[in-house]
């Protein structure tokens, strides 16, 4: 029978098929753990006297609560420090591998898995974090789980699950210069809505997707959850295999050959049936920014803030009016006229080396707009090391940006990097919910290129608003890898 990519990965992990309405039991290949959603799961194991079944399929890192400054000093916030200490103690007690703050392999959990070569095509990957969908970029079935499920996976390496529906999202054509995979996913969410993907696994396909680098694909899959989907996937191809080859945990020798042979079968069959289909033309895209308080409230940068009275649907009208009140915006204001206080470049969505390279290319030789705070936060310590090896940190510092240690940072208000009430940010992260980046903080979600241009001008901007040097090739801004300034070291 013809199958979709998601169905093939599902079938390959069936420990036991459910009957009479009971769920299927699925095997989990890789379990990523962090400090916030794991403490009660480990506690549950202790209370029931159960061990971690497969510590060798489990890896922990510290990211949500960790500071990005003074990481060698004790964590000031006691709750955060307790959660970190608890994770360290649990990892030691249960024999789980952990990469702690200060370790070269520490970083955001969704960067650590891929950069170590642990995330691969055809795996099932779970983590107590909704952005686990990131790993779907490799053709893995990857999704976030709750604390009870974390305990379930620790104890059994399986999860009882009922099958998801499948949705094909096809992006045809070529991305225009100055647009990135972030603009693709923001446009998709604006099109299908924050609930449009509920109950579905999204499969991204089409020419524009195929041309994206691995990191750009990760940005798209990362935000699948923002469309309400549990997971997003992209069929593996040569780009995937190239990214993986030679990484610390990538298969070697005969195992590599067997793996690649299998991975090549991981694509939706031509006659596979999806439960829903969406089509986008990449050529129609331009840099996208959000104006409201959910990721679906986004528009092309050339547009203006919506006027609630013009919105036909009453529910949408009320939601928009409420969002504008929170955001402190007037309907009808051109998006380009919005002044920001802070620019945040980082997170599991856009804190990778390619993101930092493309930002550096825009910032090089410039200085930041007055009164704008610019934070550049690598997704992992390895990304930081790589950026420093390429001299990107010097470009950021000369521009006037702060160059930080790795972590979730200002993506969420759980660590010291937060917006003050009323402070407005252009942010490369994934959620613009009320209070997400700090109580009363106002978030505009943007691509790294828009973030960089905004840092230069102080208002929401795209690279086309800048007088770019002739030697800057705009074509390299489409998310494809830039030529490294020094030898790559597998970040």
């Amino acid at each position: 029978m013809a199958g979709t990519l998601a169905e093939k990965v599902w079938e390959a992990h069936l420990v036991r098929r459910g009957s009479d309405g009971s769920p299927d039991l699925l095997y989990i290949d890789l379990h990523l753990v962090h400090e916030v959603t794991s403490p009660q799961a480990f506690e549950g194991l202790r209370l029931t006297g159960r061990p971690v079944r497969r510590a060798d399929l489990t890896i922990a890192t510290e990211d949500h609560n960790t500071p990005t400054l003074d990481i060698d000093l004790p964590i000031a916030d006691l709750t955060s420090r307790t959660q970190i200490d608890t994770l360290r103690n649990n990892a030691r007690e249960f024999g789980v591998r952990i990469h702690s703050l200060g370790d070269a392999d520490q970083g955001i959990v969704h960067q650590v898995g891929p950069q170590l070569g642990l995330t691969m095509p055809g795996l099932t990957v779970v983590c107590g974090d909704s952005h686990t969908s990131t790993h779907g970029a490799f053709g893995a079935l990857a999704f976030g789980i709750g604390t009870s499920e974390v305990e379930h996976v620790l104890a059994t390496q399986t999860l009882p699950l009922t099958p998801f529906k499948t949705m094909a999202i096809t992006v045809n054509g070529d991305l225009p210069p100055g647009t990135t995979s972030k603009d693709i996913i923001l446009a998709i969410i604006a099109k299908i809505g924050t609930g449009g993907g509920q109950g579905y696994v999204l499969e991204y396909r089409g020419e524009a997707i195929r041309k994206l680098s691995m990191e750009a694909r990760m940005t798209i899959c990362n935000m699948s959850i923002e469309a309400g989907a549990r997971a997003g996937m992209i069929a593996p191809d040569e780009t995937t295999f190239e990214y993986l080859a030679g990484r610390p945990h990538a298969p070697e020798g005969a195992d590599w050959d067997a793996a690649v042979e299998y991975w090549k079968t991981l694509r939706s069959d031509d006659d596979a049936e999806f439960d829903a289909e969406v089509v986008l033309e990449a050529a129609d895209l331009e840099p996208f920014v959000t104006w409201g308080t959910n990721p679906g409230q986004g528009l092309p940068l050339s547009a203006s803030v919506p006027v609630p009275a013009d919105i036909a649907d009453e529910g949408d009208r009320v939601t928009a009016a409420k969002a504008l009140e929170y955001m402190g915006l007037e309907g009808g204001t051109p998006l380009r006229d919005i002044t920001v206080d802070t620019v945040f470049i980082g997170s599991c969505t856009n804190g990778r080396i390619e993101d930092l390279r493309s930002v550096a290319k825009v910032l090089r030789g410039r200085t930041k707009a007055d009164d704008v705070r610019v934070l550049v936060v690598p997704a992992s310590a390895r990304v930081r090391l790589q950026a420093e090896a390429e001299g990107l940190d010097v470009i950021f510092k000369e521009f006037g940006a702060e160059w930080r240690n790795a972590g979730c940072s200002m993506c969420l208000g759980m660590n010291p990097d937060q917006l003050a009430p009323g402070e407005r940010a252009a942010s490369t992260s994934n959620r613009n919910f009320e209070g997400r980046q700090g109580k009363g903080g106002r978030t505009h979600l943007v691509s790294p290129l828009v973030a960089a241009a905004t840092a230069v001008r102080g208002t929401l901007s795209s690279v086309s608003d800048l007088d770019l040097d002739e030697d800057v090739d705009l074509a390299t801004f489409d998310g494809t890898p830039l030529a490294p300034l020094s030898a790559p070291s597998f970040v």
């Binding site: 403490p39 029931t48 003074d70």
Partner: protein
Amino acid sequence: MEKFSTHTGVGVPLRRSNVDTDQIIPAVYLKRVTRTGFEDALFAAWRGDPSFVLNQEAYSAGSVLVAGPDFGTGSSREHAVWALKDYGFRVVLASRFADIFRGNSGKQGLVAGVVAQEDVELLWKVLETRPGTEVTVDLEAKTATADDVTVPFQIDDYTRWRLMEGLDDIGLTLQHEADITAFEEQRASWRPKTLPAKHLPSVPIEPARPVG
């Protein structure tokens, strides 16, 4: 999870409807790292009120809560069930429960029995007339008895079976451990393992410092 067949303990009449999970346990307690020790958080907003039922000596050691309709609405936090269990409750009886709360209860071994509202009133009358009266909950017979009053309660067969067998979700899955082991034995060798750990050479990470 402990097997549940019958339980006898002091009944606590909670004459309130729509007790949501924020009332059962406020959000401020969710930052804790433990799964036990939430007894002080249970009904935290009401515990300061001397007239609150659990602050009365006859009821303070209660283990069978008899509540008004729509118990456990609101957020999905599992902490609500943990708090009830940590306090010592084994059973909650009400005429209606929020779905997620009822599901969470089943996972954690707390019996959430649906009792007709007129029977809830009968139980309340006994428990309020004679504070400290014990209630016997028989899961096999699906009845709750306080003195001379016996009322039936409803619970779905699957949850009842799991509770009587003492099977949590994990316990149930582990019944199929042979299937899991068999699956693991045919797992392809290219699939990754986190241990033994492999990584690039370790290098010191320089701490970033505040600017200016």
